[in-house]
């Protein structure tokens, strides 16, 4: 019996990264911009998506890839607003989307006829941070009912997100959430992060969010 050592030095997520790079190339070739929307459960992500589709659906070709742990409820809600909806996966307990699932979903989207893809990740502020889906950027959505220390508690997610949407701002008069402190905590882990302030319920701030999305989509 001899002990033999095989040197490997290989990134564990290399396969996911390779698929994500392929997705990024395909999207770039067709001029499609994709955002990976990450959040905790109950942040209002699906309602924000509905409002976004209501406002931009008439002028942009938007596809939505929806991931969910168990139900197709979100997909059913979103289906009322776009014909280009792909239920990427009901993960059956899985805590994040990976690039392979998005690649499979893209097979059902005609990229040549698409301007923008919004990927609704599984509601979870931990696991989706580690998986590149080939998106242009991650957008972290959190709400004023969650506590302003979310960026300090989940630094990876805020570090890896280029944009943050602070949602449910209509509730600010009724909660103790300190907006400045939340932003300061987010900037501490990611100085470049850009904030949007929205109430998907009342529509406040949603125009600015939609203006941003529109501005990043190439004519």
């Amino acid at each position: 019996m001899t002990v033999r050592r095989v040197e490997i030095e290989e990134r564990v997520l290399k396969r996911n990264e390779a698929i994500a790079a392929g997705i990024r190339d395909r999207l770039a070739a067709d001029g499609v911009v994709a955002y990976n929307l990450v959040s905790s459960p109950g942040s209002g992500k699906t309602l924000l998506l509905e409002r976004t589709l209501e406002r931009l659906g008439g002028e942009l070709e938007i596809a939505v890839i929806a991931g969910d742990v168990q139900t197709e409820n979100d997909a059913e809600r979103l289906a009322n607003h776009t014909e280009k909806l792909v239920q990427a996966v009901v993960t059956g307990g899985g805590c994040h989307l990976d690039a392979r699932q998005v690649e499979a979903a893209l097979a059902r989207i005609d990229l040549a006829l698409t301007d923008l893809i919004l990927i609704e990740n599984v509601g979870n502020l931990v696991c989706p941070a580690g998986f590149d889906l080939g998106e242009a950027a991650k957008v972290v959505i959190f709400s004023v009912t969650e506590g302003e220390d979310k960026p300090a508690k989940y630094p990876q997610m805020f570090r890896r997100s280029r944009y943050a949407v602070l949602n449910k701002i209509d509730l600010l008069p009724h909660v103790t959430f300190d907006v400045d402190r939340a932003i300061a905590m987010a900037k501490e882990v990611n100085p470049e992060i850009r904030f949007f302030h929205t109430s998907a319920l009342t529509g406040e701030g949603v125009d600015e969010w939609c203006d941003f999305l529109r501005s990043t989509v190439k004519g």
């Binding site: 019996m1 001899t2 002990v3 033999r4 050592r5 095989v6 040197e7 490997i8 030095e9 290989e10 990134r11 564990v12 997520l13 396969r15 996911n16 899985g94 805590c95 994040h96 990976d98 931990v126 696991c127 941070a129 580690g130 998986f131 990876q156 570090r159």
Partner: protein, 81 residues
Amino acid sequence: MHEMSIAVEVCRMAEAHVGRDRLANVIEVGLDVGCDAGVEVDNLEFCLEALLSNPPFGRAKPIVEQLPGDVLRMTYLELDE
């Protein structure tokens, strides 16, 4: 619980490197995990211990080295042949 996804990927990589028939001979799986990798090391070890002690593996143990940064890589496999 993405640690389980990572553990499963580690097992897949081991199979790719040494072949399924030799997985039972693997005694150590070396990993570097950065403190900013977004991976809970205890949890990853727990998941790997569960996977590596069952067929097609036999008695492999995960050996995790914690490093600064966001590195997450398999560094070596040790086989008893």
